[in-house]
């Protein structure tokens, strides 16, 4: 395997962790991502192949489904984002292309995104000061695409808190926005 050393979206060799009051903001680069979009008139086939591959049904609008190896969330009409451990599935796209054949277009998205996991008692307050999503009504397993500091982000609610996926090139600005919001509410 290549000896080129990866860096995190924030430019570090290791992921950054910030603790502000009771809040933690964790940079989480350990995910391989690939989008899956059903080809025209191949919806059923794509759904079936995806299920075989993922081990679960592709989730409904606004939802995330989590399996043992993969997770997936809805990103648009007939489109999903599939995630897996980067260490184990760096070539996720290749795996999926084999599984989905011509039923879906699969695109590598791993490094299109940076991901920050936000946890702590005031996490709701932090998210509330960051985006317009109706966060207090969101349940674990729900996902919205929203705008944080002028950038389009996925906001995922899980049991432990929130994950924010934003465009990788703006990772520094997004991180700054989350950290300053954390200081406001912590």
């Amino acid at each position: 395997m290549s000896d080129l050393k990866p860096v995190t979206p924030l430019g570090g060799e290791t992921a950054r962790v910030d603790t502000i009051g009771g809040l933690t903001i964790l940079e989480n680069p350990d995910w391989a991502l690939a989008s899956l979009s059903a080809r025209q008139d191949h919806d059923a086939e794509a759904a079936e192949s995806a299920k075989d591959f993922l081990g679960f049904d592709l989730p409904e609008v606004g939802a995330m489904a989590v399996g043992d190896v993969f997770s997936a969330f809805w990103i648009g009409p007939r489109s999903w984002m599939v995630a897996a451990s980067h260490d184990d599935h760096e070539l996720l796209v290749a795996e999926m292309k084999i599984a989905l054949k011509c039923a879906a277009s699969v695109v590598e998205q791993t490094d299109g995104w940076c991901r920050f996991d936000v946890a702590g008692a005031a996490a709701f307050d932090l998210i509330e000061r960051s985006c317009a999503a109706s966060v207090r009504a969101m349940l674990a397993g729900q996902v919205v695409h929203t705008t944080i500091h002028h950038t389009g982000c996925f906001l995922i609610r899980d049991d432990g808190g929130w994950s924010v996926l934003g465009p990788r090139s703006s990772a520094g600005s997004l991180h700054h926005a989350l950290v300053t919001a954390a200081h406001s509410v912590a």
Partner: protein, 984 residues
């Protein structure tokens, strides 16, 4: 002697004393005080000067509608001009200074304006200052500007930060007075998600200022108890110090929470204020009412204030504006002030009630059927003159006068979607009209329901009603017993007289001004406002509009509603600009996008430049280079001489897949793509539907059904959007899927004769990238550095043998370092956007300066690329006559006749020997650079009939900078015009 006018009781905490200064003098107050209440308690009535006549002024109100008591709060960079003392919570160390007065508040030189008032009537400035013309900017206007205005800014950067936040609720209740609290109780108990916003620091609203009980407890106690229940319930969010400033579409409200304004300065990391955007399904406006004054001569002296305000100062803040006080009223509510003052031991010198049958007041002399017609006292009220029912006048000495002309419901927010209020003759006031913002209901005094009992039951009823429409069942709570005085008001607007009687106190608009406006035919309400500046002050006319309308109505013989209404505009009260801006200011104005090699470039000392939201390396100075040109020239020569690397990640990249991907690109691009073989790249030009070129880039065919399209950096978002439009709206049955992958791949241009040799050191041996196996415009998916997936494109922007290589972004930094390392033997250098620009100009490639949104393929010399054999966006309208004239602009190269002269972008082209003016303009220079290869400046430009004018000498004129250069028209391809270097 301190706090001479402090009374007993009140909602202040006497266990702490707060020190503060006003105009440098020390005073004391207590927690719970406002700046105004504390100053009054200290015997200070004079707090400001008026706008035009610089008249001495004290507080008229006790709330956010205050027009007079405006001060500079804080100092240094935190100086806040025009701060209303009436809503400034006192804190220890508070520092305030008066404004609009020089040399001091007591002796203000510009008070001379008051003596000249007969000349400074409404709109006088429209009639003079016209001669001589030059005097306006030089003399008249500077004097006017210095005299005008109120407070001053510090000119220092605001050191505080502001947040934004977003809230969602079933029901937003605006105002936590009796109506709002009972609505919140009702909705809270029904389980609805409720937000209760209150501009004051505590709930209660008018209850805090009144003495009449709610059942067996004081209003303030009841309000606290309700607050306790609401907060404990969990589904109600009580937001004190939060003003709802605007009602926007579809139930969205803006609200400002003053998080830190009651503190000397915000805690570290905490915002000064938060702008909340509240998404509500329903809203109840329970914003109360504002009392209105009665105009009479010299009714603006410090000490003259609204009766309800004086009652609030006495009851809530235990502060009286003076020891001897009089009352002027036309209604029973005013008598409450009299009773409360007397109860607090303040000497009530007189009750002047315009009603002949006015009720008696125990403990004060009543003058029924009388009017206050004048006042005296230079810096504060000393006496009033009243006209008795029998016409006699009498002077009564008093240090303060409470005035009540009735109450105006706070309809402000009901007008934000251009709804007009309706006239309610019963209370002689405007009440909310029928056209309320969708989802809004109004309750309590804001609706014209002026009794406490009415507010309580009205609030509960409104909540039941609002929740019912959401399918939530609620029932009104048991409400306490409260006063239920019926209000029937016979309006009394102003006492007749010849002296000036103020309507708009801040802007110095008097009854006389309204008369003059009428005389000059400024009769429409909007004309009246604009001509006299009535209602343009910071209270938006809350205390003045209705009074002025009444005067105009008298003059025209119409009723007030016939005379017209004015509507209010957001915000409800003035809002700091910083609050609207939030965190997106300074360096964080927009997100900063960094390229994968950013850190590496930083280590190399690169100079960065903004490209849209991206930061890109502009050039990489080396030790000893003192001018940017040295670095750029070196980068160009080194690249053309051996090899250079440039981070081109910023170019938009869009993944296009599907059985119809090629057909789709055929429609998107002006030129054809169906026949492009797999493993090949093609340049593509995109047109807007109007036939003008707007973007260019390449499309690489990685598989039959898979392309990667590149766009320019600035248009990445737009192209992606337009492609989605084409896919979803124009050709919805094409099998094509799109995904933006700009960020996912780090992409580097490797250019120069040694570029292949360098790449061969990192491309894994399994992949043959020799000229034969991987010719010009080839592309493919490969691996590098022992197995890392990568994409390689043999394309060139510089005109050299060149490639672009892409790897997953997380490896971008390492790849750049690796290429620098293995390229050392070729003296590889990194080059920035400046060298990139020089080389593309040398090669004659159009870029943003040429694709400026007005140029067509024809202008760019690519007219033949626009296929006439297929449908594509823009091809039809590109055929319009005006875009295909004989003398259409054509892209040309330009070089200075004297090679030592610079070519300057933005110069215009004129014929040699011809006149230099717009009528003889031949074109303009779009891009220019010094070409280190050619040893002189070069330029690209658009020239009329440019294609046929090679060799012609033109004048490149730049009168803006006083420069003119003779230039020769040449081919735009300065370097390697045949493209031989690309193919080796």
């Amino acid at each position: 002697m301190t706090q001479v006018n402090r009374l007993q009781g009140g909602l202040i905490s006497r266990d702490r004393t707060l020190n503060f200064t006003f105009d440098g003098r020390n005073y004391q107050g207590h927690p719970g005080d406002t700046l105004a209440s504390a100053l009054l308690a200290n015997g200070v009535r004079l707090m400001g000067r008026s706008f035009k006549y610089h008249r001495p002024r004290g507080p008229l109100t006790a709330g956010s509608e205050e027009p007079n008591a405006l001060v500079h709060l804080r100092s240094g960079a935190r100086q806040e001009p025009n701060t209303r003392a009436t809503v400034t919570e006192l804190y220890d160390g508070l520092e305030a200074r008066s404004q609009n007065a020089w040399p001091s508040l007591k002796f203000d030189a510009l008070a001379v304006n008051d003596c000249l008032s007969n000349f400074l009537t409404a709109g006088f400035y429209y009639k003079t200052f016209m001669w001589p013309a030059i005097f306006w900017e030089k003399i008249y206007e500077p004097v006017i500007r210095r005299a005008a205005g109120l407070g001053e800014i510090s000119f220092e950067d605001d050191p505080d930060v502001y947040d934004k936040g977003f809230l969602h609720c079933d029901l937003l209740i605006i105002g936590a007075g009796p109506a709002g609290l009972s609505a919140a109780l009702t909705a809270g108990r029904a389980g609805a998600r409720v937000i209760l916003a209150e501009e004051d620091l505590r709930p209660g609203g008018r209850l805090l200022a009144e003495t009449s009980p709610l059942s067996d407890q004081s209003g303030a106690t009841w309000a606290e108890r309700v607050r306790g229940e609401l907060v404990a319930a969990g589904n109600v969010r009580f937001m004190p110090r939060t003003t709802v400033i605007g009602a926007f579409d579809h139930g969205i409200y803006g609200a400002v929470e003053r998080v830190s304004d009651h503190l000397p300065q915000p805690e570290a990391g905490k915002p000064r204020q938060v702008l909340w955007r509240i998404y509500s399904k329903r809203a109840i406006l329970a914003a109360g009412a504002t009392e209105r004054p009665i105009a009479f001569a010299n009714n603006d002296r410090p000490g003259v204030m609204l009766a309800g305000a004086m009652r609030a100062y006495v009851n809530r803040w235990a502060a009286t504006p003076a020891q001897d006080v009089a009352l002027f009223t036309n209604n029973d509510d005013g008598h409450r002030t009299a009773r409360d003052l007397i109860a607090k031991g303040v000497n009530l010198a007189a009750v002047v009630d315009v009603r002949p049958n006015a009720p008696k007041v125990d403990g004060a002399a009543l003058f029924a059927g009388a009017e206050v017609i004048d006042s005296s006292g230079r810096l504060g009220l000393k006496s009033i003159r009243i006209r008795l029912r029998n016409g006699e006048t009498r002077d009564i000495s008093c240090g303060a006068l409470a005035v009540s002309g009735g109450w105006n419901p706070n309809v402000h927010l009901t007008c934000h979607q251009r709804g007009r209020p309706a006239w309610d003759a019963g209370i002689a006031a405007f009440v909310p009209g029928d056209a309320l913002p969708t989802g809004m209901a109004v309750a309590g005094a804001a609706k014209g329901d002026l009794s406490t009992a009415g507010a309580l039951s009205g609030g509960a009823g409104a909540a039941v009603q609002a929740l019912r429409t959401l399918g939530i069942t609620a029932k009104p709570p048991d409400l306490p017993e409260a006063e239920d005085m019926a209000v029937s008001l016979k309006p009394f607007w102003h006492a007749k007289g010849t002296k000036r009687a103020w309507l708009d106190q801040q802007n110095d608009v008097t009854v006389k001004d309204v008369k003059l406006a009428h005389q000059e035919n400024f009769i429409s309400v909007e004309h009246l406002k604009r001509y006299t500046t009535l209602g343009m002050a910071i209270d938006q006319g809350k205390t003045s509009n209705v009074g002025a309308l009444s005067v105009m109505a008298e003059l025209t013989g119409k009723s007030i509603p016939e005379t017209g209404t004015t509507i209010f505009r957001p915000p409800y009260t003035p809002v700091a600009m910083g609050t609207f801006a939030g965190r997106s200011v300074g360096k964080e104005f927009r997100p900063t996008r960094l390229t994968p090699s950013h850190k590496w470039a930083e280590e190399r000392g690169a100079v960065f430049v903004e490209a849209g939201d991206w930061l890109r390396a502009q050039w990489f100075p080396k030790p000893g280079e003192t001018h940017w040109r040295q670095s750029v020239d070196r980068e160009v020569l080194a690249t053309r001489g051996s090899v250079g690397i440039c981070d081109v990640t910023t170019l938009g990249k869009i993944d296009v897949q599907g059985a119809d991907a090629a057909e789709f690109l055929n429609k998107i691009y002006a030129n054809g793509f169906v026949k492009l073989p797999v493993g090949k790249v093609r340049y593509g030009l995109m047109l807007r539907e109007d036939g003008v070129a707007y973007d260019d880039g390449t499309a690489a065919r990685l598989a039959e059904d898979h392309f990667v399209v590149t766009t320019t950096t600035v248009n990445a978002v737009l192209v992606y959007r337009n492609m989605e439009f084409a896919r979803q709206c124009l050709w919805p049955d094409l099998d094509v899927q799109l995904a933006s992958i700009t960020e996912a791949w780090a992409q580097y241009a490797v250019a120069g004769p040694n570029s292949r040799k360098l790449l061969q050191k990192i491309v894994d041996p399994a992949f043959d990238i020799s000229n034969d196996a991987f010719p010009f415009m080839a592309c493919g998916e490969i691996t590098v550095c022992d197995g890392l997936r990568a994409r390689l494109f043999r394309i060139s922007f510089s005109g050299e043998l060149a490639y672009e290589i892409a790897v997953p972004t997380r490896y971008g930094d390492a790849l750049m370092r690796r290429m620098a390392e293995v390229g050392a033997e070729f003296d590889v250098i990194p080059y920035g956007t400046e060298a990139l620009g020089v080389m593309r100009i040398e090669k004659g490639h159009p870029a943003g300066n040429e694709l400026n949104g007005t140029t067509t393929a024809l202008n760019l010399g690519m007219g033949r690329m626009v296929s006439k054999k297929k449908d594509c966006i823009g091809n039809t309208l590109s055929e319009r006559e005006g875009l295909n004239t004989e003398d259409a602009l054509r892209l040309v190269g330009l070089r200075p006749v004297d090679p030592t002269n610079p070519v300057v972008a933005g110069s215009h082209l004129m014929a040699e020997g011809g006149p230099v003016d717009a009528a003889h303009d031949q074109g303009y220079i779009t891009s220019a650079a010094y070409s280190p290869v050619l040893g002189h400046s070069i330029g690209l430009g658009f020239l009329k009939r440019g294609g046929a004018r090679k060799g012609e000498i033109l004048r490149a004129v730049n009168p803006l900078e006083g420069v003119e250069v003779a230039v020769e028209v040449v081919s735009a391809h300065f370097v390697d015009p045949e493209g031989e270097k690309l193919r080796v």
